[in-house]
């Protein structure tokens, strides 16, 4: 009995291989899909494995360009971070992957999509909200939330046994005692031994950065050019890069070398649980620092304050919570893009043993900063007496506050 056709997000690992087989056993036809968002995969082997297990087809799509340009660069324009620290690497990849998966599902006449996300994480929410928005009639099969599936597969041992029984090849490499997810923006490490928030991640956790302590003793200086807040050129001592994906990869490489972009946090998942996550995001860290610095030079202060408080905050939370395909993200991003019209210029940086240091910044086109005006040494076009009035007017209200406090018996001038 054929139940329909499912598009399964398939990575070649034990979990999704099991799901693939299980779906087939349940009577589904399965089209497998794997997105290339810059991670390292044995692409050919994954495809062979999928077909061997019984997939009708394996579709692998290169999404690197759209991932970098539509998501990562937007995050850079936004100075995005979740809870002040996390650069959203996984959250940024989910929308492009979900979109491609729906496209593959539609093109292959699938009425369902499926994935291997666990029932406690953020990714299930991110994928499924995207699926439903992009194709409101789609059905989602989330095996790790199905009682019958969870009953059957209670631990890794059950999966291994099922694999053995069904001739699913299992890589002999011992699973690491944590889980990982990589893309161009970062690699994430969580679960397993990392669940103890006071345990320092062992050095071999990190894959996209070498240890700052092993980084070269000589710093490297680079320059990043932005147009409308988008990185358009990266100049390193060896070479210049202008292609979006190439410059991103070049920065990842430099960042790896110099140990840049490691973070280790306890974060709040959308579903209300706290969880410990470690991430290394070399290119994103470098680009974000450079972009934020440039904004100091070229952006109006009132616009920046509004953008920081509302756009940066909101966009970051929207992305984290899987609300990329939503009216509010569209609304917020419209503001973001508008705020970047004049973010043009170049930032010179030094990378050294885990650190990104700004050496200087300039803009050929933007003139909000003026050396003459800022100078404490000249008074051209500036009447210091004006400041007296400025202060006097501001103090009208504050004097009343001072009197009110005095009246309340609170001596503000107490030490």
């Amino acid at each position: 009995m054929v139940k329909g056709r499912v598009c399964l997000a398939y990575s070649g690992g034990l979990d999704t291989s099991t799901i693939l087989k299980w779906l087939i056993e349940e009577g589904y036809q399965v089209v497998c899909f794997l997105a290339d968002v810059g991670q390292d995969e044995p692409w050919k082997q994954v495809e062979e494995k999928a077909l061997k297990i019984g997939a009708e087809k394996m579709v692998i799509l290169d999404l690197k360009k759209e991932f970098v340009e539509e998501l990562c660069f937007r995050a850079i324009q936004c100075n995005a971070s979740y809870e002040g620290t996390y650069l959203l690497g996984t959250s940024l990849a989910r929308p492009v992957i979900a979109r491609a998966q729906i496209k593959v599902a539609i093109e292959n006449n699938c009425d369902s999509v499926s994935h291997g996300c666990t029932g406690k994480g953020n990714d299930q929410v991110r994928f499924e909200l995207a699926f439903y928005t992009l194709q409101p009639t789609i059905k989602v099969i989330a095996p790790w939330r199905l009682p019958e599936f969870c009953e059957k597969f209670k631990g890794r041992q059950d999966l291994l046994e099922y694999a053995a029984e069904h001739g699913i090849p299992v890589t002999s490499t011992k699973a690491k005692p944590w889980s990982m997810d990589a893309n161009l923006a970062h690699c994430s490490y969580e679960a397993g031994i990392l669940e103890d928030p006071d345990k320092t991640p062992p050095e071999d956790v990190w894959t996209m950065t070498q240890s700052p302590q092993k980084a070269p003793d000589a710093p490297v200086d680079i320059t990043i050019h932005f147009e409308k807040g988008i990185p358009v050129k990266v100049v390193t001592p060896e070479k210049s890069y202008t292609d979006s994906v190439e410059l991103f990869i070049a920065l990842n490489k430099l960042g790896f070398e110099h140990g840049i972009g490691r973070i280790d946090i306890v974060e709040n998942r959308f579903i209300g649980l706290k969880s410990r996550g470690c991430y290394d995001s070399p290119a994103m860290t470098i680009l974000r620092d450079a972009h934020r610095d440039l904004e100091g030079l070229v952006m109006d202060t009132a616009v920046r304050a509004l953008r920081d408080q509302f756009v940066t905050h909101s966009w970051s939370y929207q992305l984290y919570n899987g609300m990329y395909f939503s009216p509010e993200r569209e609304f917020t991003e419209n503001s973001l893009v508008f705020s970047q019209r004049r973010v043009n210029g170049a930032v010179r940086l030094q990378l050294y043993k885990g650190g990104v240091y700004v050496l200087g910044r300039s803009s050929a086109t933007e003139k909000l900063y003026s050396e003459e005006e800022a100078s404490m040494d000249t008074l051209d076009n500036f009447s210091p007496m004006d400041t007296t009035g400025f202060i006097a007017i501001q103090s009208i209200r504050l004097k009343k506050y001072g009197l009110q406090k005095a009246e309340e018996g609170a001596n503000l001038a107490r030490t």
Copy 2:
């Protein structure tokens, strides 16, 4: 003719020495005041110089403890930063200095206060708004905004000549080509050659940090304990510190050694000018990173989001703009303190060549983080099927958005 008594913020430098003499010549009696907020000063010599020039009295007050406890620690509780980067070192010192100066003015029957701030900077605003709030009837003499004074002293040369004429001792050390202001929280460097935002500050600018490149090759691991968001103990390999000022100084020393806390930005002054500032803030940087990390472990996510968006943002801008003694700062700080009731725990950090790395965090009292619950491996007390409902409900609204976009002809599933 005696015009009245002025309390002058006096540092012993050329500017305020000139102002002191000029005030006396103008017919004022002058009481000099100097705050000890942790900077290095030849205290005795400053006093002698003041009296030699003609001050009635020189008052030096040690404000370190109130500075650290009332201002710096509040900033740490707040994760405060202005425009995402500047840790507010100068802004934090101004309120305690202004408060003490008003106290000295009142105790010495001064009807005016005076300072040597320039007419284009933030500090004049910060000082004077504080003065007027604390003592609404006070008069402020801001020589650098008085046409007659500015006319008389058009440049450094005029000041030097005046000093020579009036027997004001001038230190023979050549002035650095930038200006500095130090306190426990940081040292600031601006003006002069730093006004070119693309010129990297020469290495000898920095006084509170040695270069990361000269920092020891061996990292150091420390632990910082917080109670209600306040650092209460710092444990280093050599020693533990519990006194507020001592632990702060110890962190400054460690941070100096390991090159931690340098920033270089273009910022937006309150009066609407952009200006370039360089700052090194070792202790503040270390404490802020530790505090922010601990909040991940112990703070509710919704409270944290509200605190980040409203309290952290508002408090930081209030401090930067000189609004410490204001109803809105009092209002905002009330929220801040309330948010910190359960921020109890310890953070282990590694300091290494300019970087602060979190090694782990723990809390003996707080239990919002639960290893069991967060674990992807167990489902105790968690029904993954609930997430299906959670996602379904969230998607009701998003599906409508998807349909609306489709109707508009926008294919969200486009690549």
Copy 3:
């Protein structure tokens, strides 16, 4: 077989009577609970009916005082409204009801609570989030979300038949073609014929207000006194009220008479559906208008702006979404209460045919408003020249914007 003891929110109506009987048939012992939040009920008959159907016990608690003082007055201090219009009447009652129901459940050794809320509404969310927070181990039985119950009772007819079969008395009064929920703060009307958002509610919908067109031709003038933002006295031409519940009821009566407080909106439920609601909230409308007006006289402008943008907005959404017992409501309310310390004074109002008009306001204790200072006719203590400086400083940044726009070719001075 006894399954355990349930505390059921029981109103005496057809739905909860059916649930009561069904629970008993399912093997539960049932303690019924009804909260008196000011609605009109045949209390004695409800109790008799509950016992007749088979409840072990019927508990009726008068929550009017805590409802008014802890919830309604907080909303007034907050100027709370959801989506700019809805005064939250239902949302305000839910927390006190849920709290009392949990108390009754605990006192009667119930391990479950139950309610008759539908599966698409806000109230189920509000009640259950409160239940779980107040008693994390409680079990909730929500029959209208149980497939077996929904299957059994597909429409009103099924309920009537079940009632007939089981001897459940049914009031002969024909059900109105909409649903209602009343408490001291308002009565709500929704569903049924009101689901067409373009259908004007028939006049007999409204129960807490008579039609403005039937209101007296003579206006009535009243005065409301506030302390710390809380209404402490209402003076009407006939009488003064100082008891919280009495003054609230007196205002409801006056508001009924003068047709005050009707609203008719399409709102967004927490679960993502839009729904049409009609509400009449006489006392809340009058008190909110008065409170908001008084704040103009006595509250600092910067605090008010922060309170409006963050506290009022957040608290209103928290209440609407059932997040009363939450860390974020506690956090927000702490700010709210702090903001009201000086909201002391009296507001004179006129009520006339649906409208509330402010006649004047005064405060014996607060002095932020000063007739002399506000006056355009005097310049005592005010130097108009200061404003020149104030404007000049503000214009520094704006002039740059003007130049930038000109450079972009945008002629701001175009008509």
Copy 4:
């Protein structure tokens, strides 16, 4: 000696007539300018008077269309209000007037502009910030802030004597004991006897509304159609209006008749003083109520919440504070316009004795509201069991809060 040419905002009243003469005496050539923003003026007589006193030229420009379309309708899209109440009538007119005055100044080779605003008000700030932004090199002559002018004219008597001496015609009508400013959006009343905030404005203050008590006993029903949040058609029992200015005037007339749009507040001026203002804004009140209601039907809830909290708040404050020509207003308005793309539909209203009542709303194009889905009676496409999961997930975090409070000894379930 000719000092240059000034473009003076001239109304024909005693103040600006005096300023005109005084400027001429001071040696300026003066071009007078008067904007028609819908107020009632004896246009011809004003022109004759200007020329008689000595103006080179009198320019009168009709700005009604741009005022309504660029400012008033934007405010409607925004649901703008300052401090929750004031509909910004004066603030909205200032930008178009300032822009036209600068245009006239440029066309007539004026190097200065002048106005008759007092030194304590908002309008001087609004005008001058606009002047400086639109023409950064312009000079501003603000006589009421010039010491020599203020010295000369200390009160109305001085102005009258000067008028008599210089043959300036003075209208014999006795000045009202308050000041007024009218445009299409509203008329404002302040100062004089209104400075006592507890004095009810006498009935003859109001000019754009008759008293609700004199309004017709029969209500009138109208329909307002919106496209992208802009009113495009007003249907009254007599006639339909589609021209922007005509429909605005028609609503003002209806609003006058039915006594709609009076407010009386104490507000916070930008310069830090509290002041009492009375305003009647018939058309704005009606349009705002209608627009806000329509948004309930057609706008996504998350976008609405963001728009309310950030855009509505910010835009209103920007306008009030004279920041129309600013980067932040441009930034904010971009968001506003984006939010209105789907605000299409019609709202039926009833006007009755001071009140605006929504009778119903509909949209031919927007489908976010669905009667079937909202209905409590059907469960098509809705699985109530999903809500169980939704609630369960939301409660994860809240249960922890409940446990934490219990541990703190706070019994949340206390009454």
